[in-house]
Amino acid sequence: MNDDYLWDKSGDPDPEIQQLEEILGTLRYQPKPLQLPEELSTARPRRNYFPLAAIAATVLVALLTGGLWLQIRSSEPSIPAVAIAQPTAPIPGPPLSVSPDSPRKRTPRRVKDDRQEALAAKQQLMFALRLASEKLNAAHRRTQDKRSSYENTLPN
């Protein structure tokens, strides 16, 4: 078998392959005009940037809220662990001396107030995050709807 002729029609022609080409050539593609409907378009669909912008804005709001909360929290003096702990029996030995320039005294009432503020700030952050999540979901749903409606408008 002449492989060169089969490969690229070079070299000595192979009579059997030539005969097959002649017979099967009757089935060869006959050029026919292609009819493209006028309304058919291949233009790239216009990109809708609204969902991206909505997501970016939501993330920004969440970051700002978180940053604000952290700032508020750090501006307050930290609550010492011993203040939250339950009162324990007095430690035997000489009484501890308290320096006069120690930070303001943290009474149990003050500690309670601080905890309430922290809780309120936490709730605000959780609300902001929930809101951000809802907005993300809404943007995602809107994108899906638009995509499916665009695909439905395409003719089969």
Binding site: L6, I17, P31, K32
Partner: protein, 195 residues
């Protein structure tokens, strides 16, 4: 056939020169054509059609009944026109449309499993055509890897390097498929006492 609101692209009027000399050699002509079509030049799609219709015709001929091939070629190019913006690499237009053709052939049998007779009518209009249909049936009975390459070579008259370039297969694969496919076809033809 109604031609109102239709752009009729004649592949002969849009024939591409054999040398493809109107494009820099390092840049396949498909790249500029695809780009032009995406920019709204529908005539450039006619040139792509002229270039690739034989490939699509051959791929279909290796798989579906002959009577269905011409309509499917049109369908595939319409589909390709609509989806051209999804083609990421313009240079890969050939492998892309070849894959669409193969998938459409699979869909054809999936959709019409119960109504379509797979074998072609072997009674051609003349003896030559009847013989051609008979040999085509033999080629279709070969493994899938060989039948497409053989149809493109023996029916569509493409050379091995052309088949490799248009389908995206490697030249080595095409060469092996041609060699082994031809060997199997000869054996089958031998059983049938020659062509």
């Amino acid at each position: 056939m109604a031609t109102a609101n239709m752009l009729v692209i004649n592949p002969l009027a849009n024939a591409v020169p054999e040398s493809r000399g109107d494009c820099p050699p390092e840049l396949p002509v498909e790249v500029s054509l695809v780009s032009a079509v995406l920019d709204g030049d529908r005539e450039s799609f006619g040139r792509l059609y002229a270039l690739y219709a034989p490939l699509v015709h051959g791929i279909l001929l290796a798989r579906v009944p002959r009577a269905e091939v011409d309509d499917l070629v049109q369908d595939i190019f319409l589909h390709a026109f609509k989806k051209l913006h999804t083609l990421r690499d313009s240079a890969a237009f050939g492998p892309w449309i070849a894959m669409i053709a193969r998938n459409r052939a699979v869909d054809y049998y999936r959709r019409s499993r119960e109504t379509v007779e797979i074998t072609d009518d072997l009674r051609g209009t003349d003896k030559q055509e009847s013989k051609a249909a008979e040999i085509l049936e033999l080629i279709r009975s070969l493994p899938e890897a060989y039948r497409e390459t053989l149809v493109l070579r023996l029916v569509e008259g493409m050379t091995g390097p052309e088949i490799a370039a248009r389908t995206g297969l490697t030249a080595a694969s095409v060469r092996v498929n041609l060699h082994r496919g031809m060997k199997l076809l000869r054996e089958k033809l031998g059983f049938r006492e020659g062509v």
